[in-house]
Subunit: 648 residues, 2 copies
C-alpha cells in the first residue's frame, strides 16, 4: 500500500525539513481522527493515551527499517509497543505508513475475530510483540536486540512505553540486561504525559524516571513528544549513542482534543456521538466518517497476517546412551545434550545462533558446559526472572534459537504470566526446568515445583516433556530444540536409575525415538494399570516389582507428555477397571487430573486413584520427602494392593 | 529460654559498650560453629552467606523488640529475612537470643518434618515471613510496616536482604510503596558481600545499589557489616530517620572460615568432615560437637510453633438484596458490600483497620466508594502488582484486615508465585478479582483470566468463591471478609440478571446464606445435569429454559466454590448418566476438570461433557466472545440436546 510520507530511515538528514514536518503533521491530524473514530465506533478503547503517543508513533515507524514489505522477515528493525492499550494510535500510525488501509482498522477495532484487538497483537502487520499486561515490552525489545547482536545484524530496536508502567519491576530488570549486554542498538521512548487511570503519576506512585534509567546505565534524552523535529533529533542522537538510550517524551494526554487534554477519565473511555463530532470538528475533519466506518464494520472482518511458527535450523547430533550400570540425573543428561548441540553449531558457518539464558543457576541447571564451549551464546541475566522470561521468548522469534534453563519455581511459577504472554505471542522458546516436583534436595516447599503441569495446562500452545530417565531426557532435549513453538522440558535434581525393558536393556535407547503424546509401556499385566509421570517411573517400577512378587501383575505406562494423554494406552488401562496415577505433583492438576478428564471425555470407566502431593512438602532428603507423601515404591505397591482388595 | 546477651532494644545507648561488643563477638563465634555444624550434618545448605550475615542477624535481633515472649503477638517489632537460604545464620542467631535451644536447630536442620527448613518458615519462633524465592522480603516488610502504621503502633520493621536479590524488580516496587507511604518505621539491611552463585555481583549483573535506593526515596547508610559497633550505630541512625532507611552492610562471604572467604562455591555447598574440623578449630571450637548433634538428629524432631490462622474482627453488616427487575454487575455488588463494611468500621472505637490495596484500577474494580468513605484505609500502590501481592499478604497477618482488588490477570496470573508464597505463609488475605473469564469487555486475550480456577487449584489453603449474581456476591463478600485464611472472590465485568427460583424470587437472598462447598440447585430435572460456574449460571439457565421448552428437563446446579466440589450434588447428577459443565474458563483446569477428578475418585460413572474455553479469546463484546466459544445459552442447549440424542 502506498503512503505519501517521507522515508526517514537512514537518518541521513541531521534534522527534519520543514516540508517533511508539514507532511507528518498532516498525517498526525488524520491519524487523530482515525483514533477517535475507532473508539467511538467500538464504544470502548483508550483514546487519550493514543493521542498522547501519536507523534512518537509516527516518527518511530518513520525512522525504523520496518515496512509492509520486510515485516515478516528478521533482517530489519523491530518496534515494540509496551503500552498495548494505546492500540488505536498504533493502528492509525501503521495505516498512515501503508501497512493496511486505515478503514480496515477504523471500522473493525475491537470487533470479535478482527486482528485489531483492544491490545496490540502480532497478527497485525508491523506489530512485533503482543502486549497488554504492562511492563513487559522493554524486556521483549531487549530480546530482539540481543538476537540482532547475536546474528551480527545492524538492525535496531525501538520500544514505546507508557509512563504509568515505569513503576513495574520488570522494566528495571530489562534495563539492566540491556546495559550489561551493551545493547547500543536499542532505544526506548516514554510517553510522559503524567496521567494514569487514577490521576497524576506523581500522586499515584512517585517515581524518578530519569534517575532510575541513569542509575541502570542508560543514556537519557528528553524532548517535546509532540514535536516531530525534536523527536527525530532525539531518535537520531539515540541511535548514534554507544549505550542504550531512553527518550523521555514530554506529552499531553488527549492531545489536540480540547475536552480530553489532561483528563484521566479518557484513559479508557470512548467519546459519545456529540463528543465525537466536537473533537473531529476541532481537528478539521468530517464527522460523517463515523457512518462510513460503521457501514464497513465486520463487512468483511479483515483476516490479519498469519504468524508463522519459527523453526530452528541447527545440527542436533546423535543421541547419547546411558547404560543401566550407573545412575545419572536427568538435568546432567540435558546439559550434555545441550552442550553437544552447542558445540556442533558454535562457529559453524551459517549456523543459527543458539542463545542460552541463565539466572545465576548455571551450575545447578547444568548449562555450564554449554557456557564454556559457546561463551558468546551464553547470556547471564542475573536474578531477574521476569525480564529473562520475556527476553528469551522475544529472542526466539527473531532469527535465533533461544533456551532458558532455571529451577521450576523460577522458570515457571514465578514468571507464569510472562510464559503465558510467550504463549499468546506464539514464541519459539525452549524452557528447561530443573528441580521440579519434590525432587529439589532439601530446599523445602518454596522450591518444590509441584505445579508445573497445572500451570502449563492453562496454556494452549506450550508442549511439556517430563522424561523418565537420562536416555529419554537426551532424546527429548534434542527433540525440543528442533520442534517449532514453545517447548518445556521438566526434570528433577536426583540421579535416577536407567529404565530398562524386561530383558534389562535401556528402554529409551536403541530404536527408541521421542514421540509427543505417546505413553511408553514399560511392563504389562492384567490386574490394573499404573501411569507414572516422568521421573516417577522408576519408583512405579519398584512398586510393579513388589506387586509381581505377590503375583499381582499390573500394566505400567510411563508418561512424558502429561498435556497430551495417549488415548489408546488409556483405553487399554481402563479395560482393567483400575488405574493408579503416580506423580510428585499436586494431585489436583497433574497427570491424575489429566487422566480423569480424558476418561470423562472418552466416557471410559474404571476407578482412578490419583497418587500425588496433597500438602506442601517438607525440607529433607528427596527420598524422605517422597516417602512422607506416600509416593515411594513400597507405598505405591501397598496402595495398589489395597485397591485390588477393595474391588474384590 | 535464658540468654546471656545484653538487651539493646531501646537504643538508649548512643553506642555499644566495649563489654557488650565482647559478648556479641563471643555469641557470633559460637553461632558460626552452629552454622557449620548444621550444614555439615545435613550435608547441604548455605554456609557462606550465613557467615556473611551473622553480625547483621545478631545485632538486628538484639535491637528488635521481638522476643520469645512476644513473638506470637502483633504488638512488637517485625524482622523479615528475605534471603531465606541463609537460614543457618538465622537459626543460630535465634538460638543465641533464646528463642529455642541451639541443639534443636543444629541437630535437625533440613530434616524431614523439622521446622528448621532449608529456607526459613514461619513455624520457627522469631521468623515472621517464610521466604526462599528471592526479592519478596522487602514487600513483606512493607506490609508489616503499613499494618503498624494503620494500627498506630510504634513497632518497627527490619528487613535483611542479600545483595544478589537487589536486581529483582519486586524490590524496587516495594521501595517505592514504602517511600510513598512515608514508612519511616522500616529499616532494610543489605548483606553486601559481592558474591552470588555465579561469581561477583558486579560481573553477574551490575547494579548501582546506592543510586537505586536513593532514587526511590530511601535514606542510605553504609557500614562494616561485621562490626557490631557500626551496625548498632547505623541501626540507631536509621530508626531515628524520617524516611525509610537502608543500611548497606559491607561484608565478607564465608567470614572467619579461611577457605570459604570470598569463594562463591560455598554459597550452597556444605563442608566435608575434614573441612568442618578445620573450620571449627579456626573458630576455637571442638569438632566433637558434630557427633553430639548427630546423636540428637531426629531424636526427637522438634515440633515448631503452630501458626494460628488470623481472624478478622469487624462488623460485617446486613446483606443487600438486589431485585430481579434490574441487572447489576457482581463487581458493583462487591464494591457496595465492601463500602458497607468499611463505613461500619471506619473510625469505630476499637475496630481493626481494614486496609484495601489498589493498583491503579479502583474505578474498574469498584473500590472507589470504599476509598471515599475510608480514605486512611485505602492504599494506592500504583502499577506494582508483585510487591502489592506480598505487601497485602503480610499486612493480613499483622493485626489488620487486608484486601486487594484487581483484574484477574493482574491479581493472580501476573503474581501467581506471590500468592503461592502467601499460601505457604498462611496469610489472611482477601483477594477480589474482577474481569475474570471471558467477561472483560473488549480488552482481548491478554486480559481474559481464563486460568484463575486452575491457578488456585495448585494451592492448598486458598478458598475460591465465584458467585453467580449480585445477591450471592454480596453474601460471599461479607463471608470472605469474616472467614479466616486466604479467600479469593472472582467476578466478571458485565451486568448480570439476578438468579431467581421457579417462583421468580431471588434465589440468593432471603433465607439464603453463603456456605462453602455447597452447590445451589437452581432447577430440577431427570434427563441430565448441568453444572454452571458462578456467573455462567444465567446462561445455563437460558439453556435450561430452551431445553424445557423442548420437553427436556435437566438439573441445574450453580457452583460458587469450584475448589470444593459438592459430592452430594455430584452423586445426584451422576445418577442421570449425563453431566455438562459450563464455564468461561480453560476447560483443562476449571470446574469441568474438578468434576472429572471428583467423579474418578468417587468412582461415579456417567458421561461428562466439559464446556469451556479451548483457545485464547478474541477482542470483542463479551456476548460475542462467549458465543464464539459456544458458551451462550443457545449453544449450551444445543450441546445438551445433542448429547441426549447420542445416548439414545
Amino acid at each position: 500500500m502506498e503512503n505519501n510520507l517521507p522515508s526517514l530511515r537512514d537518518f541521513s538528514a541531521e534534522s527534519l525539513s520543514h516540508g517533511n514536518v508539514k507532511l507528518l503533521e498532516e498525517a498526525a491530524r488524520k491519524a487523530r481522527i482515525d483514533v477517535l473514530t475507532m473508539v467511538t465506533l467500538a464504544e470502548s478503547g483508550h483514546p487519550a493515551g493514543s493521542l498522547s503517543s501519536l507523534e512518537m508513533y509516527l516518527t518511530t515507524y518513520g525512522v525504523a527499517n520496518l515496512t509492509p514489505e520486510n515485516c515478516n522477515s528478521v533482517d530489519r528493525d523491530y518496534v515494540v509497543i509496551s503500552h498495548g492499550h494505546t492500540s488505536p494510535g498504533a493502528y492509525a500510525t501503521l495505516a498512515a505508513w501503508g501497512f493496511f488501509k486505515p478503514l480496515d482498522a477504523v471500522a473493525n477495532f475491537r470487533l470479535c475475530s478482527s486482528p485489531f484487538q483492544g491490545h496490540v497483537e502480532r497478527n497485525v502487520p508491523g506489530i512485533d510483540w503482543g502486549s497488554g499486561n504492562l511492563g513487559q515490552g522493554l524486556a521483549a525489545g531487549v530480546g530482539f536486540a540481543l538476537a540482532q547482536k547475536a546474528r551480527a545484524h545492524d538492525g535496531r530496536v525501538f520500544v514505546l512505553m507508557g509512563d504509568g508502567e515505569q513503576t513495574k519491576g520488570q522494566v528495571a530488570e530489562a534495563r539492566r540486561i540491556a546495559a550489561k549486554e551493551g545493547l547500543s542498538n536499542i532505544t526506548a521512548l516514554i510517553d510522559y504525559n503524567h496521567i494514569q487511570i487514577s490521576g497524576r503519576t506523581e500522586e499515584v506512585m512517585p517515581v524518578d524516571v530519569r534517575a532510575l534509567w541513569e542509575a541502570d546505565g542508560w543514556g537519557v534524552l528528553e524532548c517535546d513528544g509532540h514535536s516531530f523535529e525534536e523527536l527525530y533529533t532525539a531518535l537520531r542522537d539515540g541511535v548514534n549513542d554507544e549505550v542504550p538510550t531512553v527518550i523521555i517524551c514530554h506529552t499531553q494526554m488527549g492531545k489536540d482534543v480540547s475536552y480530553m487534554e489532561g483528563v484521566p477519565d479518557y484513559h479508557g473511555k470512548a467519546p459519545n456521538r456529540d463528543q465525537y463530532e466536537k473533537a473531529v470538528r476541532e481537528l478539521g475533519g468530517n464527522p460523517d466518517y463515523l457512518e462510513k466506518a460503521k457501514a464497513r464494520r465486520g463487512n468483511p472482518v479483515p483476516s490479519g497476517r498469519k504468524i508463522v511458527t519459527t523453526i530452528n535450523n541447527l545440527l542436533y547430533g546423535e543421541p547419547r546412551t546411558y547404560g543401566s550400570e550407573k545412575k545419572t540425573d536427568n538435568r546432567s543428561a540435558f546439559g550434555n545434550a545441550l552442550a553437544d548441540v552447542g558445540t556442533l553449531n558454535y562457529k559453524r558457518e551459517g549456523s543459527m545462533p543458539l542463545l542460552v539464558f541463565d539466572c545465576d543457576l548455571a551450575g545447578s541447571v547444568k548449562t555450564s558446559d554449554f557456557a564454556k564451549n559457546c561463551p558468546e551464546w551464553f547470556v547471564q541475566t542475573g536474578i531477574q526472572e521476569h525480564a529473562t522470561a520475556t527476553t528469551a521468548g522475544a529472542a526466539s522469534v527473531a532469527g535465533v534459537a533461544s533456551l532458558w534453563a532455571g529451577f521450576g519455581v523460577f522458570g515457571l511459577s514465578e514468571v507464569y504470566n510472562q510464559q503465558r504472554l510467550n504463549d499468546i505471542n506464539k514464541t519459539n522458546l525452549k524452557l528447561a526446568l530443573t528441580h521440579v516436583g519434590l525432587d529439589v534436595g532439601e530446599d523445602g516447599m518454596t522450591h518444590q515445583a509441584i505445579d508445573y503441569v497445572g500451570l502449563m495446562r492453562n496454556m494452549f500452545g506450550w508442549k511439556l516433556l517430563v522424561p523418565a530417565d537420562p536416555n529419554q531426557t537426551d532424546r527429548a532435549t534434542r527433540w525440543a530444540l528442533r520442534e517449532a513453538g514453545n517447548v518445556c522440558i521438566a526434570m528433577g535434581r536426583s540421579k535416577l536409575p536407567v529404565i530398562t525393558n524386561e530383558g534389562g536393556e535401556p528402554l529409551f535407547a536403541g530404536d527408541y525415538s521421542f514421540e509427543y503424546g505417546k505413553a511408553a509401556k514399560v511392563r504389562d499385566g492384567e490386574e490394573g494399570a499404573i501411569f507414572a509421570l516422568g521421573a516417577m517411573t522408576w519408583r512405579a517400577l519398584e512398586a510393579w516389582e513388589l506387586l509381581r512378587n505377590k503375583g499381582l501383575n499390573f500394566k505400567l505406562f510411563s508418561v512424558a507428555t502429561p498435556l497430551e494423554i495417549d488415548q489408546k494406552a488409556l483405553e487399554e488401562a481402563s479395560a482393567t477397571g483400575l488405574i493408579l496415577s503416580v506423580e510428585d505433583h499436586h494431585y489436583h492438576n497433574g497427570l491424575g487430573a489429566s487422566l480423569a478428564l480424558a476418561m470423562a471425555e472418552g466416557n471410559l470407566h474404571g476407578k482412578l486413584v490419583p497418587l500425588g502431593v496433597r500438602s506442601y512438602g517438607a525440607s529433607g532428603r528427596s527420598e524422605d520427602v517422597v516417602a512422607a507423601m506416600g509416593l515411594d515404591g513400597a507405598s505405591i505397591a501397598a496402595k495398589a494392593e489395597a485397591c485390588l482388595k477393595e474391588r474384590k
